[in-house]
């Protein structure tokens, strides 16, 4: 069970002077249960890539295919694929439209013709998942704060119980608390329900903290793909494509300049704690 991209190329506005090859020969497999982060600077094609996962965009004709759980994406399979692959866009709060929060979350379910209790159960489950207060359910979606709206929008995707959840910068524009909530809920979903998470993020600390696998894109191509340790150890390469590394890694790289015995394989605060501990035992530093 996986999302597979074979030789996918995507060109925006082909045949015009504005032609733009946004993806070039992408080969990629995202397996069930993974927590994958996609990073890359602005305009490198991250959003374009993930829109192929549920068939919103199609590879250029004759070039490549997208296969979800063994089924190729075509017109006939589109509905099923969209049920399996939930996609939350950048600033998803712009898509809300119903009179009440409850109705908006339930929007996707209407097609499934569930019983009223079943529908309510799923709506409340989704709302709990994103930490949305139950007494907001009868409010108008336009009376909510930005962070609350974002949660409603994500819950609206979660009710469909997707086995793959793609989050395009879910934390953009949220306060630190809201941002951590978003990531924690994604992690929880991944751990407890086995939902595959694909996270697009510009925050390297978050990526190092949460993602098991990191895909680095530059100019429509995948240039690195591996564990976060592997990817962030290539700091020279990342720097050459204007990407940052976690602050804590920078700190340890600086420390290494002072003392070559310092371990610079540090990407999260936990790594740092362990590194300091082992350095203390080895006598590299005194604390």
């Amino acid at each position: 069970m996986s999302i597979q991209l074979n030789n996918v190329t995507h060109t925006y506005m082909p045949g015009t002077p504005f032609e733009k090859v946004a993806l070039e020969n992408i080969n990629l497999e995202i397996k069930e249960g993974e927590f994958v982060a996609v990073i890359g600077h602005t305009g490198c094609g991250k959003s374009t890539l993930v829109q192929h996962f549920n068939g919103l965009l199609k590879p250029d004709s004759g070039k490549g295919s997208v296969i979800v759980d063994g089924v190729g994406i075509e017109k006939k399979t589109l509905v099923d694929v969209r049920k399996k692959v939930g996609l939350v866009f950048q600033y998803p709060e712009h898509q809300l439209f119903e009179q009440t929060v409850y109705k908006d979350i339930a929007f996707g379910l209407r097609k499934l013709k569930l019983s009223e209790e079943e529908e309510a159960k799923r709506v409340f489950e989704a709302a709990d998942m994103v930490g949305l207060d139950r007494n907001l359910m009868d409010r108008s979606v336009y009376e909510l704060s930005g962070g609350q709206k974002r949660r409603v929008a994500i819950a609206g995707v979660l009710v469909m119980k997707p086995s793959y959840l793609v989050l395009d910068e879910p934390a953009a524009g949220l306060d630190p608390e809201g941002k951590n909530d978003m990531l924690r809920f994604a992690k929880k979903l991944n751990r407890e329900h086995g939902t595959t998470i694909v996270l697009i993020s510009h925050c390297m600390e978050d990526v190092a903290d949460y993602a098991g696998r990191v895909i680095v894109m530059d100019d429509g191509k995948i240039i690195l793909d591996g564990t976060s340790q592997y990817v962030f150890s290539k700091h020279e390469l990342l720097k050459s494509i204007d990407l940052d590394i976690p602050e804590i890694t920078k700190l340890f790289l600086e420390l290494k300049k002072l003392n070559p015995d310092v371990d610079d394989n540090v990407f999260t605060v936990d790594d740092a704690v362990n590194a300091i501990e082992s350095m203390r035992l080895k006598g590299v530093c005194r604390l």
Binding site: T16, Q51, L56, R82, L87, F89, H94, L109
Partner: protein, 235 residues
Amino acid sequence: MVLILIVNNIWGYVLASVFVLGSLAVSKIPPKMIVKSLKPMVVFIIFTVFFNLLFFQGDELILKLGFVKIYLEGIIFSAKMIVRIILLVSSATLLTFTTTSVNITDGLESLMRPLEKIKVPVHDIAMMMSIALRFIPTFAEETDKIMKAQASRGADFETGNIFTRIKSYVPLLVPLVVGAFKRAEDMATAMESRCYRGGEGRTKFRVLTFGKSDLVILIGTVLFTAAIILLNVFL
């Protein structure tokens, strides 16, 4: 462009075609783009031709199939319509590809300036026009984005009968309209906080100047207009 609508004889068409084609050639717009801009008109053209052929009454009967009568005049008239539509669309393309919307509205504003004497809010009209033009691409982008967002949570814009389809556009239209209002509000606030108070005493950052090429085009247009009118009157 308006001139094309008053053309009424064959020489007028020839002249107008030469004028439009000549301008297109000088403009260096890739022919591909012009063909592309004509594409959406194909259905419209077929429709027009179909009805003109069927319902145009003339003297010279060419074809008779039951109650369907096609007259020679109908064919000629349809051909004229086709040329007319193509000329209209390609000259509109010419305008939008060569002139930025800012220039168009600036130009209109200065052309309408005399109307200020009779209390027409010329500046306001021009400002509204340029804002409207400015936001068309934004609006299109927004539409695309919201459509995709709703599609990824189960909306379906393509199947069903006409009523379910109209209803399926609600999730698209509501956020779009709300977004447009919000944007208008933000825009007003932003303009006010930069002390915009309408056109009074406002100077322009980019002043339009009347250059040599403008003179050539003005003379060309005057001659063309005169020629079309003369042809209309004397032929």
